[in-house]
């Protein structure tokens, strides 16, 4: 019921008729996070990147569309349930777990060596020409350099590590390359974003572009940005990758989903990430 109260207040403040389908705006608020190293300002609202200028002026982190209590959990690392996974990954980072006792730390030193990576991925790797997510990079080391079986793309080990690596870029501005070698992947992702899938015939854009700010039943529709990923989701009491979230959204259109790490979802992640160019990486965000 809480949102009804909030909406009532907003509607009255704006002096609109209660029956009007008023555009329920993202909450006007800003995010600074108490971290071990002091306060970090996060860009959660900014001008839309040029490639979106036809469809919107402003981009918002999903943080703006969540309830007060959920937003509060992200203001202090002490309260953010996602930090448990980051700690767990730090143990994994230092552990001699390779076939010959290799550890991530042995080759990369501290996790700070990963600074900046999350802000520019998915990207086309300059040497191999392959489209790479952070998870793909991790698995390349796990298999080729440590002689282990690949980690499951949405398994705990992988998600923990993704959380730790994302945290190294927290506060950095998302800057996904969309031209050059990335262009064909970006186009493919865009095509998927605007395709109306499933028996409900709904595209990502139908919900996250056309109806952003509105309520679909109890859900306040955000722009479906991925700058906050991995997210700690209260509903699942666990962390989720962007592509896991895509699976849920596609399934909810009564469609056959794509799998995490499929060519389709990798291209889609690149495209969706580029719609957030200008927002900050949030490390591990908190959503309901």
């Amino acid at each position: 019921m809480q949102r009804h109260v909030a909406r009532l207040a907003t509607t009255l403040a704006l002096g609109l008729a209660l029956t009007g389908t008023a555009f329920a705006d993202p909450v006007d608020d800003s995010l600074s996070i108490e971290t071990d190293d002091g306060v970090l300002e996060i860009v959660t609202t900014t001008a839309a990147p040029a490639h979106l200028s036809d469809v919107m002026d402003t981009i918002y982190s999903g943080w703006h569309f969540r309830e007060d209590e959920t937003r509060a959990l992200q203001r202090d690392d002490f309260d953010n349930p996602g930090m448990v996974y980051v700690d767990r990954a730090l143990d994994s980072w230092n552990k001699a777990q390779g076939a010959k006792g290799e550890s991530c730390a042995g080759c990369h030193e501290g996790p700070e060596s990963m600074k900046g990576l999350r802000a520019v991925t998915p990207r086309v790797d300059a040497t191999t020409g392959a489209l790479m997510t952070v998870e793909n990079y991790v698995n390349e080391c796990v298999t080729d350099r440590m002689g282990l079986e690949a980690w499951g793309m949405t398994g705990d080990k992988m998600k923990d590590m993704l959380a730790l690596i994302s945290m190294q870029s927290r506060g950095e501005v998302v800057n996904i390359a969309i031209d050059g070698a990335a262009a064909p992947f970006w186009e493919a992702g865009k095509e998927i974003y605007y395709t109306r899938f499933g028996q409900l015939e709904m595209s990502c854009a139908n919900c996250h572009e056309d109806n952003q700010g509105r309520y679909i039943r109890a859900d306040h529709l955000s722009q479906g940005q991925v700058n906050g990923f991995p997210v700690y989701r209260l509903k699942d009491a666990g962390i989720l990758t962007a592509q896991q979230r895509f699976v849920g959204c596609v399934r909810d259109t009564r469609a056959e989903t794509f799998k995490p790490d499929s060519a389709e979802f990798k291209a889609l992640e690149l495209y969706v990430a580029s719609r957030g160019n200008g927002l900050s990486v949030e490390g591990v965000s908190v959503r309901h």
């Binding site: 019921m1 008023a22 028996q199 709904m202 309520y215 679909i216 399934r251």
Partner: protein, 157 residues
């Protein structure tokens, strides 16, 4: 043709067309978006229709529409126009067409087509996320469509 084949076909027909007078989704005729005759050949049940409209796995109309006459359904969405007074704006035939396939009235509508079984991109078996293993049923049965229509025509203001 073997005898088994015919038996199997006969059994399938029994399942897919439970009532002889029912119009299948692919056989529906739309005239300017409207469907003139009942899909079951008889009027629906408004009380059952109300249930379909508020059940998430069925019509879930309240996900997008506000329906003032059903205040007990909480968290009504604001994606689409409120349905109150809808019977003053549309005839029964138009309402039947809107519920069966709103895209026949509003081109490219965001509203799902509840009585349609073909022409989808990567349809799944309901909300499983998996490809269907059998012919896709419509989201609502002919009876459920008629039940919803029966409720909608009570919505005068």
């Amino acid at each position: 043709m073997t005898r088994q084949f015919w038996l199997a076909t006969a059994a399938m027909l029994c399942i897919t067309s439970p009532v002889a007078s029912e119009t299948a989704p692919s056989a529906v005729t739309y005239v300017d978006g409207a469907i003139d005759v009942s899909l079951t050949g008889s009027p629906g049940d408004a009380a059952a229709g109300k249930k379909v409209m508020t059940t998430a796995s069925l019509g879930n109309c309240v996900a997008c529409h506000q329906i003032g006459t059903i205040p007990e359904a909480d968290f009504q969405g604001d994606i689409a126009p409120p349905l109150d007074g809808v019977a003053d704006r549309y005839s029964e035939a138009e309402l039947r067409g809107l519920v069966a396939n709103a895209k026949m009235t509003f081109e490219d509508s965001f509203m799902p087509a509840f009585y349609k079984t073909e022409g989808f991109t990567r349809p799944g078996a309901a909300y499983s996320g998996k490809a269907p293993t059998e012919d896709l049923p419509p989201i609502l049965t002919a009876q459920q469509i008629e039940d919803v229509v029966a409720y909608l025509i009570t919505m005068t203001e």
